[in-house]
């Protein structure tokens, strides 16, 4: 069986600063993995490189067996299509209403790109599907609202609907609830996890709350200063071990020379 995500000895640098220092892990299909780590430990860079938004210096990434590193533009787009991305800051297009934002989720698979994704021109099936996605995240009654008219939690729901519209097989969630208050955050996380389970998707999700990580995740991946420190099923980790991720040398820019050691 191929894994949903296979990362092998990933190295990413910005100038002289090595941010990812040989990261290897796998996410088996259908598993929800929580990625933990202090600010500046390289989490976001890892997430971005999984989507090809960041260039690898060395190492390989396979998404359902397809190699992402070194893929041509067309292959890269194909891999991205199968990968939903949920951002910390939602990243909805502010001038477009929720419905149109969700429709844009299908951009990747349309032959004529944007021309067949506009509310005016989209096929009846796509329009119905977009509405269905909004309905699943409980935002059907807000379809014509612009992002600025929605609360943070509602915007993230719309972003999740956009991800659903994309029909992904893998989901990458980069601190999906970090800009929400605890209550809205838990609601959104509940929703995200339920959808991932229902659709039998695989997910890699970064979180900052240890108790949420232990509650939702199947497995924990712990990063510290550009390396994987913990990679274990949730039952085999304890809180002290997780807390250790946030103490000592956590940042990649704390001591650049340490990389050589």
């Amino acid at each position: 069986m191929t894994h949903a995500i296979e990362a092998d000895r990933l190295v990413v640098s910005y100038g002289n600063l090595q941010v990812l220092r040989g990261i290897s892990f796998t996410v088996p299909a259908g598993q929800g993995v929580v990625l933990l780590g202090a600010n500046g430990c390289g989490k976001s860079t890892l997430m971005r490189s999984l989507n090809g938004l960041e260039k690898l210096q060395s190492g390989t990434i396979r998404i359902h067996g397809d190699t992402l590193s070194g893929a041509g533009r067309r292959d890269l787009r194909k891999i991205r299509q199968s990968m939903g991305y949920v951002f910390q800051h939602f990243n909805l297009v502010p001038q477009l209403n929720a419905f149109q934002n969700v429709l844009l989720g299908s951009l990747g698979r349309q032959r004529f790109g944007l021309l067949s994704c506009l509310s005016l021109t989209a096929s009846a099936a796509d329009r119905a599907k977009a509405m269905h996605c909004l309905d699943r995240v409980g935002m059907a009654d807000r379809a014509l609202h612009r992002p600025s008219e929605l609360s943070g939690g509602q915007q993230q729901r719309v972003a999740i609907a956009r991800m659903l519209m994309q029909d992904p097989r893998v989901v990458i969630a980069d601190e999906p609830i970090a800009s929400l208050d605890p209550k809205a955050g838990r609601e959104v996380l509940d929703l995200l996890w339920r959808i991932v389970t229902e659709e039998k998707l695989s997910m890699l999700c970064t979180l900052h709350q240890l108790e949420l990580a232990q509650e939702y995740g199947d497995r924990i991946l712990g990063m510290k200063a550009g390396r994987v420190e913990i990679d274990a099923p949730i039952a085999e980790t304890d809180t002290a071990q997780l807390n250790a991720l946030y103490t000592g040398m956590t940042r990649v820019d704390a001591q650049p020379t340490e990389a050589a050691a």
Binding site: N51, R77, R80, H89, L92, V93, L104, G113
Partner: protein
């Protein structure tokens, strides 16, 4: 009294560069005043002539109003058609010229060069060039306005594109969308308000320059005005100037009203 050495000096000698700039500017200014032969006598005579001009211009002669209206309509046609094409051409040029949307550095450099050429050459000179190439009349005016608009609008559009937040464009890229879809799906909508404001401002600018384009034979009300002036029919000229004033002010009011609505 012992802390004398720590007091800041009253005066610090300016640097050599400052001296060069100041002296150079002063020399150029004095030379300019001398060369343009400004004298009290001439200014007095000028004031006299101005009074005589105003005397002959009042009351304005509106008997040629149908012709003036025709010419004014032509001026507005030149402005509207020119500015519309100018703004339409500006969008692809701006996309090629903005850092985050340009396909390659080379294309970006070329696009920026085209835009700055369009901007650096004044509208009257564009009109002269097009009068020579396509002949007298409104077409030359339209082409001149197109070039003038591109120089202005494409630059502002592309600066706006560079300012949009990266997030939404990145989100669409992450769905596997192509470059053009990302540009038209995220970057353009985000810049839409600013593009509209810039375009309306271009319309105001175009009306003003379309008025003067007639002076070099590129069609419109300028032709009427220069004819009236050359025939010393200052009363007719005054009527034309009044019509221009009313139309330009009306247009500016209208466009600023629309702009306030949008932003």
């Amino acid at each position: 009294m012992s802390d004398h050495s720590q007091l800041p000096p009253r005066f610090r000698a300016p640097s050599a560069l400052t001296w060069v700039v100041v002296v150079g500017f002063a020399a150029f200014f004095i030379q300019g005043v001398i060369a343009s032969d400004i004298s009290f006598d001439r200014l007095m005579r000028g004031a006299n002539n101005l009074v005589r001009f105003v005397g002959q211009a009042v009351p304005p002669d509106f008997t040629r109003m149908p012709n003036i209206a025709d010419a004014m309509l032509e001026t507005m046609n030149i402005a509207i058609v020119g500015v519309t094409f100018g703004c339409l051409f500006s969008i692809p040029l701006a996309i090629l010229a903005a850092r985050n949307t340009a396909p390659t550095m080379l294309v970006r450099t070329i696009a920026r060069f085209v835009i700055s050429v369009a901007r650096t050459i004044p509208d009257l000179i564009w009109a002269l060039i097009f009068v020579v190439t396509v002949g007298l009349g409104p077409l030359a005016g339209i082409l001149a306005i197109i070039m003038d608009t591109i120089g202005f609008a494409a630059r502002f559009y592309s600066e706006r594109f560079e300012e949009v937040q990266k997030g939404p464009a990145e989100a669409l890229t992450a769905t596997g969308a192509g470059r053009l879809s990302v540009i038209f799906g995220a970057i353009l909508p985000e810049s839409f308000a600013s593009i509209t404001a810039t375009s309306l401002f271009s319309v105001e600018k175009a009306i003003r320059s379309a008025v003067t384009l007639g002076l070099v034979g590129a069609g419109g009300i300028g032709v009427e005005l220069s004819t009236a002036m050359r025939l010393f029919r200052y009363d007719q000229a005054a009527a034309i100037i009044l019509v221009i004033l009313v139309v330009v002010i009306g247009f500016e009011q209208l466009s600023s009203m629309i702009r306030k609505r949008i932003i």
